[in-house]
């Protein structure tokens, strides 16, 4: 009898303590992994690494970046879906996953089921021509395209990347048509413009050093605001075209991460953005640091996807 009471008492005590432990334990109690679906050493990987370093101090737990490149981020995202939704595994994705890739590639997972956590930056986007080209502004260039239909070529880094989207939008709005010639990455695409093969380059950071040293001329950026690294380069909107496309670096978790954990992660990422090393890496890759919380990034991606879908249908890339 006595024994039974003791056992019951112990059981109750054990239960109380374990419950107390769950309620009181502050996230995180173990290391956090940030998956990265882009190649190591690029802007996505390095910005994430700098944030991870700062977050290790903020959260008092190791935060590590694990590269899982492949399939335009699909390999890493498949991995994310296999992880527990406890906030210990998150991922850095580019906007194109929720926008172009989810329409064009039919992923085996539903990216919209992922838990949005935050966004910390915007990739640089530019439209640039060779410096000896006659066009000084986007208006000049579009005027030339109108006079020479089907003759103007633009080099791009990829057949279906985000920097092609503003060109497709311009084609539709201005009733023009250009040849978008995809290369294997941004560098050969810039080389095609420098070598006089294509008239303009639409892409990410690769043209910026050339705009600075004068071998290329920037016509516009597709972002909503001017880039800090190139304050003289106007936006498309300022140039008189109502087109804004931003590709964001966004952090997501597996489906169903508890809101209180999302909050802790979101704040830790926000604080980590103050790290000087993060700012330095952003500066060298021309990434604009820009914070969005969980709800904002979710809304941003849903809006962008809604805008993109009709364009892809019109281009015949997807069916209704």
């Amino acid at each position: 009898m006595k024994m039974r009471v003791l056992t019951q008492w112990l059981l109750v005590m054990a239960l109380t303590f374990s419950l107390g432990a769950t309620a009181d334990a502050v996230f995180p109690t173990k290391p956090i992994t940030i998956l990265c679906g882009a190649a190591a050493g690029g802007s996505t990987d390095l910005t994430a690494r700098m944030l991870a370093k700062a977050m290790t101090e903020i959260l008092k737990q190791p935060v590590v970046v694990e590269d899982k490149p492949g399939g335009g981020g699909f390999v890493a995202n498949s991995e994310l879906f296999r992880a527990a939704p406890d906030g210990y595994t998150v991922i850095v994705n580019a906007s194109s996953l929720y926008n172009l890739a989810s329409f064009l590639r039919k992923p085996s997972f539903d990216p919209w089921k992922e838990t949005p956590i935050m966004s910390y930056g915007i990739y640089p986007f530019t439209l640039a021509v060779k410096s000896d080209a006659p066009w000084k502004t986007v208006k000049d260039f579009i005027g030339y395209i109108k006079q020479n239909p089907g003759k103007v070529s633009l080099s791009t880094s990829n057949p279906d990347s985000m920097e092609n989207l503003p060109i497709w939008m311009l084609e539709e709005k201005e009733k023009i048509s250009v040849k978008l010639v995809p290369y294997e990455g941004g560098a050969p695409a810039v080389a095609a413009v420098l070598g006089g093969h294509a008239q303009a380059f639409t892409g990410v950071a690769e043209a910026i050093p050339h705009i600075r040293d004068g071998s290329m001329r920037g016509l516009a950026t597709y972002l909503g605001e001017r880039m800090p690294g190139l304050p003289d380069l106007p936006t498309l909107k300022e140039s008189g075209y109502d087109v804004v496309v931003e590709s964001r670096l966004a952090v997501y978790g597996p489906p169903g991460v508890p809101p209180e954990v999302v909050k802790i992660l979101q704040e830790a990422f926000r604080k980590a953005m103050d790290s000087p090393e993060f700012k330095k890496v952003c500066q060298s890759f021309e990434v604009t640091p820009s914070f969005m919380d969980s709800a904002q990034i979710d809304r941003y991606h849903r809006d962008l996807a809604a805008k993109t879908k009709p364009i892809l249908i019109k281009l015949g890339k997807i069916k209704e």
Binding site: A40, G41, L46, D67, P159, A187, A192, S215
Partner: protein, 502 residues
């Protein structure tokens, strides 16, 4: 000019920078030896660690990793038939056969010396002709590239040491394998069978590790257990140095491969990989005894091993003078430059000459270190060949599995490798060569991309390939390459009839 070079050496020969060059080259050699762990991943991991260094030291170290890799990759290619890096895949073909004949020491020595010559001449090229060559490389557009690839593919048909039909069959398989993944212009999925991994195409490292490494293991398993090692113990492994004949046979390939690799390295989309393959094809084409390629002859090692190093040196030209990285590794080096606030490009010689000359001259220092490091190591590593089959074959298997996985932490790469291992085994049994398959697999996607780009630029007109002079010249070379055996035969017939009449 001389002034700048001397200033450069005063920077690269400072104790500090010699130390960083040494670290870089040692890490590079190790990374080269370990299959799967590539220079890209290594540089990416080490990049944040260099933030505290000054820019010249950081680049000297990271660049050392890049050019050190081609030295290290040779070791596993020759000794275990596992390509340590993609630029040493082609070395497996003749290098491993040489090892089987007890000539591994010679193969590795010639490879190290060829690498040294290729790199050093390449670095001289960077110093003397970088800016003008870079602008020539820019005129190389889609049409020129297409014609270059066609000329390269004509070499494939000559890669047959067996029947031409088998060789062409293998080339066709290689072309099909090159199509796997997203098509380069429209982005449609091809032959991916719903696999996420195959969206990026088949990676050359698991492909080659399967065809060569795993294929070899499966063949080894057939052998009897009593066999001692790859090389009978009676063969003197100490005989490391190449024979006089081997030296003589290597001079030609090294002299041809140096400029070839250098130029292919400069081109957009080129690099050390392409250089090694084209060099192998070229050596076989110009050889007086092409049938001996694949049986373990020194020309098959000397050419590609030189070309991959001069190609590596060449790839620095667009990076340093145009700020354009045409492959993954130079892209990482660009990132390293930019993180340190230096932008490579036309202005680098004016804005930060000490960085430019410091890095370029450090490549002499680094390559000399690699030569000094590698030659004595050959004697040590060569003992791998004494390991008995029953121990060596599972070891090769394990290294291949780890290598395939560590490529991008993806287990699917192991599946791909095992698939090609079985294929490689069957190819051995039915006497099909891997060389045409791999060459076609490397050239095919580049040909497709540039062909379709060129036709986009020309609005579908094929004239673009003839009206552009460089392209026309390359196409003529391709045509000559195809027709030459026929012409040769015709010429001999005429000669015969003439001598009959006389």
């Amino acid at each position: 000019m001389l002034d700048s070079i001397l200033t450069g050496f005063s920077i690269s020969l400072s104790l500090n920078n010699i130390f960083y060059a040494l670290i870089g080259t040692i890490v590079g050699t190790v990374v080269g030896i370990l299959p799967g762990l590539g220079p890209g991943a290594t540089i990416a991991l080490l990049l944040p660690l260099t933030f505290k260094l000054n820019v010249t030291s950081a680049i000297i170290m990271l660049a050392g990793i890049y050019y050190g890799v081609a030295y290290g990759g040779t070791l596993t290619s020759v000794l275990m038939n596992i390509p340590g890096e993609s630029c040493t895949v082609v070395t497996c073909i003749d290098g491993y056969q040489m090892a089987k004949k007890g000539r591994a020491g010679a193969a590795l020595s010639i490879a190290a010396i060829g690498s040294f010559i290729g790199s050093t001449v390449g670095v001289i090229g960077i110093m003397l002709v970088a800016p003008p060559l870079a602008s020539i490389a820019l005129t190389f557009g889609a049409a020129e590239y297409t014609s270059l690839m066609i000329a390269g593919l004509t070499l494939v048909t000559y890669l047959s040491s067996k029947s031409p039909l088998k060789s062409i069959t293998m080339a066709a398989v290689g072309l099909i394998l090159g199509c796997v993944g997203l098509d380069p212009i429209e982005g449609n999925e091809r032959l991916t069978f719903g696999s996420v991994t195959l969206l990026d195409g088949i990676n050359i490292v698991p492909l080659a590790m399967g065809l060569f490494g795993i294929g070899e293991v499966l063949t080894m398993v057939e052998g009897s257990v009593e066999e001692t090692g790859l090389v009978q113990s009676s063969v003197k492994l100490r005989n490391l140095l190449p024979t006089r004949q081997e030296w003589k046979d290597s001079i030609g390939p090294i002299c041809r491969a140096t400029p070839l690799g250098f130029f292919l390295g400069i081109l957009p989309g080129g690099g050390a990989n392409l250089a090694s393959f084209i060099s192998y094809g070229l050596e076989k084409r110009v050889s007086k005894h092409p049938e001996k390629f694949g049986t373990g002859i020194i020309e098959g090692v000397a050419g590609p091993e030189t070309a991959n190093n001069s190609g590596t040196a060449g790839a620095f030209i667009p990076l340093l003078t145009l700020g354009l990285p045409f492959n993954v590794i130079t892209a990482l080096l660009l990132a390293a430059f930019m993180v340190h606030g230096v932008t490579p490009g036309p202005m680098i010689l004016k804005k930060s000459p000490e960085v430019f000359w410091g890095v370029v001259t450090s490549m002499y220092v680094g390559n000399f270190m690699l030569l000094v490091l590698n030659l004595p190591l050959i004697g040590l590593f060569i003992n791998i060949l004494r390991i008995p089959y029953p121990i060596l074959s599972p070891l090769i298997g394990v290294i291949c599995f780890i290598g395939a996985f560590s490529l991008s932490n993806n287990a699917m790469d192991i599946v791909v490798m095992v698939f090609f291992g079985l294929l490689g085994y069957l190819m051995r049994k039915f006497e099909y060569d891997a060389a045409p398959l791999i060459l076609a697999y490397v050239l095919g996607p580049m040909l497709e991309r540039s062909l379709r780009q060129a036709l986009m630029y020309s609005n579908g007109s094929l004239g673009i390939f003839i009206t552009r002079p460089i392209s026309a010249v390359l196409l003529s070379i391709a045509l000559l390459s195809i027709l030459s055996p026929v012409l040769k035969m015709a010429f001999q017939n005429i000669k015969k009839t003439l001598s009959h009449r006389a």
